[in-house]
Point group: C2
Chain length 359, copies 2
């Protein structure tokens, strides 16, 4: 396995946004080279690129791609208009993960100071590259914070994919796993398969097998039995949006893992960069939950799993109340209850786009 | 849809055990005609026939099929030996659902009084037919008990398949749904798809669509969000084995539904006939949990979902502690806490095979 390739789940090369097409794993490893805003939006919508930090990076470079044509470079008003168009299209691609909006707005804010079209493009590219490098650094810091926090906890249950494929770096929850492995500590991962799209079975298992880390896949239905049966030392999940009070939107299925972990006295950690924390959202009740197509549930590998006449409910995320979270493991360290002040303090240290750019 | 056909998920016709091959639904409705013990064992193992009450009936007729050859009819010792062989093979086919053992032992006990080989066969067939008819009657009584107990609760979340396909009659948890529909009460079913084998998506949805009852399928990961979001008035599940204290083994995923239901204050009902209650098992810790092949998780419709090098954990059942059960809805009425005396009283009214036949 080419480790450099794995590190490039989202990367910028030769003026193109290069992403691994995650819809084809584990059977095929295919790189997509995206050169237009429309291509980025399509890749986001069909989850070819996914994972909250990764889509923040993709959104940032998506804005840059919106400035590629000659008209945009020709005049500042044309460039500003092109940037606004790109930003609006990208932000609308997926509603729940705040990183997408955050990445797009950071680039827009950084480029706003430009006095020419070409300077605007240069500033936008510079900011997008900063976001990518910051994400890589954030993953490393998360890994180190988790290494200390997890101590001797060896058997870690995780959900969805929160690793190299979900970020520009080593991951969020899986960065902790990689940090443990690198430190020579014993670590084993229980990966819930994560229906409907099977990111745990397809992506997490693929990553960890390639990294030589023991991984056991289980149906989502078996997670409760694993916890009740004493097979789990801690649960680590990612986050798509954390509200000011600590309520957390993450991949559908996270909430019930948190409830069962609490019932078994197993620590439940939410792991992610501060870019997944949303100061504009007071609590989980305000988070828009993306509804995905029924076909994600009814069809698999061309086979129909559900009779056509049955209805389907397919939310992509759920909300875990802050009361079920043991702690947040972030690039700004471990945040502990009470979460509202801990989150406020951490966010005060983060450079956010000015409020005037909120739309 | 031919309602008589649906009622015959397990039936005895012309000296053959006729079952619907449930591995092919919802795409194809195929009837299997089983004529030997080996064929019944194979159908049980690969879940062509499944559902605790249905496999109890199948086991009973499996013993009868073990008496079909001429040698068995020729002498009483030969018939007794053939019956013991058949019983041992059938009981070993699946370890968790107690109905299988119960059905097999009832037939063996009823036939033990025979004085000739042909009388033994006649008594065995008579008892197997009684078990089938009792199961149909039990389903009707369960439906009526649930109709009263559920009152105005309309939106029912269920797991796996507990309907016509799981019994010789109308079902267990789904018998309550059918009773509500027949009584003209509004009823809607939320069916969790039930990975790995998708009995909810494939079988429950198919049954209910054919019965004209509104059904919405959701990934197992979405059940918690449905409950937290106020979409569920009660949870109804079946049971493969209920211990003397009320601890209940049922399809993997049941335990976490019970934990989340309790967290949301939603009543959680276990629904099944007394034949699923096991007086020989004091509590859930003594129930053997069947482990199923990894391929059930890793492969679907010929497509590989999990990299080959990953390990898999695939228990078929989990145990829900009695403390999470609101009540048992049975053919002997509704059993309420404290469960140990309620279960003991109900079982005292049931004709069990004599202890001397335990093996």
């Amino acid at each position: 396995m080419d480790a450099d390739r794995l590190r490039s789940a989202v990367d910028w090369r030769d003026g193109r946004l290069e992403v691994i097409d995650q819809t084809l794993l584990p059977e095929r490893l295919v790189l997509l080279e995206l050169t237009t805003v429309a291509e980025v939006v399509d890749a986001l919508r069909r989850l070819a690129v996914r994972g909250a930090p990764a889509i923040g990076v993709a959104g940032a470079f998506g804005v840059v791609l919106g400035l590629e044509d000659d008209a945009a470079a020709a005049s500042l008003p044309a460039a500003l208009a092109a940037m606004e168009r790109a930003a609006a299209q990208l932000e609308a691609a997926r509603p729940t993960a705040v990183n997408l909006r955050w990445g797009v707005r950071r680039v827009v804010a950084a480029a706003a100071a430009a006095t020419t079209g070409s300077e605007l493009r240069r500033l936008a590219l510079h900011e997008a590259r900063r976001i990518l490098e910051e994400d890589r650094a954030a993953c490393r810091r998360i890994g180190q914070a988790g290494l200390v926090e997890l101590g001797g906890r060896r058997r870690l249950l995780t959900h969805c994919n929160t690793g190299r494929l979900a970020t520009a770096g080593l991951g969020t929850a899986l960065a902790v796993v990689y940090a443990k492995a690198e430190a020579g500590e014993p670590v084993e991962v229980l990966a819930s398969e994560t229906r409907p799209l099977l990111q745990g079975a397809r992506l997490t298992a693929w990553e960890l097998v390639n990294a030589g880390i023991p991984v056991t896949v289980l149906a989502d239905t078996a997670a409760g039995a694993a916890m009740a049966g004493g097979l789990v030392d801690a649960v680590l999940v990612g986050c798509d949006r954390v509200a000011r009070n600590g309520d957390t939107a993450n991949k559908i299925g996270t909430y019930q893992l948190a409830v069962v972990a609490a019932a078994s006295g197993i620590p439940f950690y939410v792991v992610g960069p501060l870019s997944s924390f949303d100061p504009e959202t007071p609590d989980g009740g305000r988070i828009v939950i993306e509804q995905r197509p029924a076909a994600e549930v009814t069809m698999l590998a061309g086979s129909r799993l559900v009779p056509e006449q049955a209805a389907v409910w397919n939310p992509a995320f759920d909300v875990t109340p802050a009361s079920l979270v043991t702690a947040f493991i972030t690039d700004a360290g471990v945040l502990r209850p009470p979460f509202a002040p801990a989150i406020a303090t951490a966010l005060a240290g983060r450079a956010d786009p000015p409020d005037s750019l909120s739309r």
